[in-house]
Amino acid sequence: MAIAANAFSPKQFSFLIAEQDDWGTHAVDEGSPNNDLVALDVDSIGSPSLGVIQGLDVRSGSRVLQATDFFQDIKGSVKEMTVTGTATTEGLDILLANLTGEALAGASGVYSIASNIASSTLTSATADQTGEQLLSIVYKSGYGTNADLSFKDCFCTNLVLSGDAGTEGGRIKFSATFKTGSLATSLGDATTTIDTAITANDYFMSAWDADDRIIAGTANALLFNFSLNLTNEVVFSGLTSTGFEAATRASEISATADFTIKYDSTFSGLFNSFNAQTAGSSTGATLMNHQASLADANFGFKMASSVLTNVGYSEGDMMQLDCSVKAVGAGIGSSTALVEVAC
């Protein structure tokens, strides 16, 4: 066999996601309707962590790892994928719908997590979901023949949305982590078709209005950068020949945000606010938006109640403040949103 006279740029690879209706069935194989595979605008394609379980211990009777000693299993592994890139409408809608548990169709561009959100479990019996809380993921290879890496039954467990006034004009970036406990659909999949290519529907932190840039109850923050961190972990259980047969989101679902802002007369009191917070009480709202209320097609987020978790000087060309907040709920029986994100 001759050597291959082809090579590929990492940029020829794509990262695709799609909402998946039925547990165990990849989105492109679901028949009618097939959900669109949407290309995320990723900086680099990265590589999935297959979580292959191996045993390389030498068995008794030999000083050498014999071929018969080698053990490998893939059924009991959790596959993890992380990508970073630019947040565009089509992809961000799917990510937020999956992480918050709010159906894409019903959210109207504003995704919220209620203070009294319940745990949720999807199983191998899950089919024809209306909320579509499963994702299919494809690493589309630059080589077009039987080389795509396809995963099913995936969950977005962490989403970080960030922006830096000094980078790309404050364009909103994302980092997302996905997990699946099911066997990979195929690591040599035939050529996958991109249904929705990357668009130019970007978001910018420059869209936010001064009096709607609020950190724990103090408005008019001048931001250098920010990051919003949303976490909703998943735990897999029930080992079968096709992987785990149940996935549960039951641990803490949280929203935190970090900011670097200009130190000025408005925010000089932030140390005092941090130090004087009252136990058992919210310190104030955190809002980053173009207006008081979130709206479809405009990126922004709101924590109706939040507490400061850190305040510190940050020395730059001018004095800055690093500060962090965490969203707090309105009570275990309250449907008031813990956090809302619009895009």
Binding site: D212, I214, G217, S281, V328, G329
Partner: protein, 64 residues
């Protein structure tokens, strides 16, 4: 303690989500304060000190 607005022209912006009692933001309370009512609260957040003042209890004539 009882509090009320310092200046009826300087209302508390509801978007700030200021919290005067244990728990989370209470929009109804902010509406009451902004409408000029005297309200009973547990604490005054630092951010709210520019907006509200404590109402001192009225003393009866002749009381020591």
């Amino acid at each position: 303690m009882k509090i009320k607005l310092k200046d009826s022209k300087n209302l508390i912006n509801p978007s700030l989500g200021l919290c005067f009692n244990p728990g989370a933001y209470d929009e109804e309370l902010i509406n009451d304060i902004n409408s000029g009512k005297e309200v009973e609260v547990k604490n005054i957040p630092i951010n709210a000190e520019d907006y509200v003042k404590i109402v001192k209890p009225k003393t009866k004539k002749g009381a020591k």
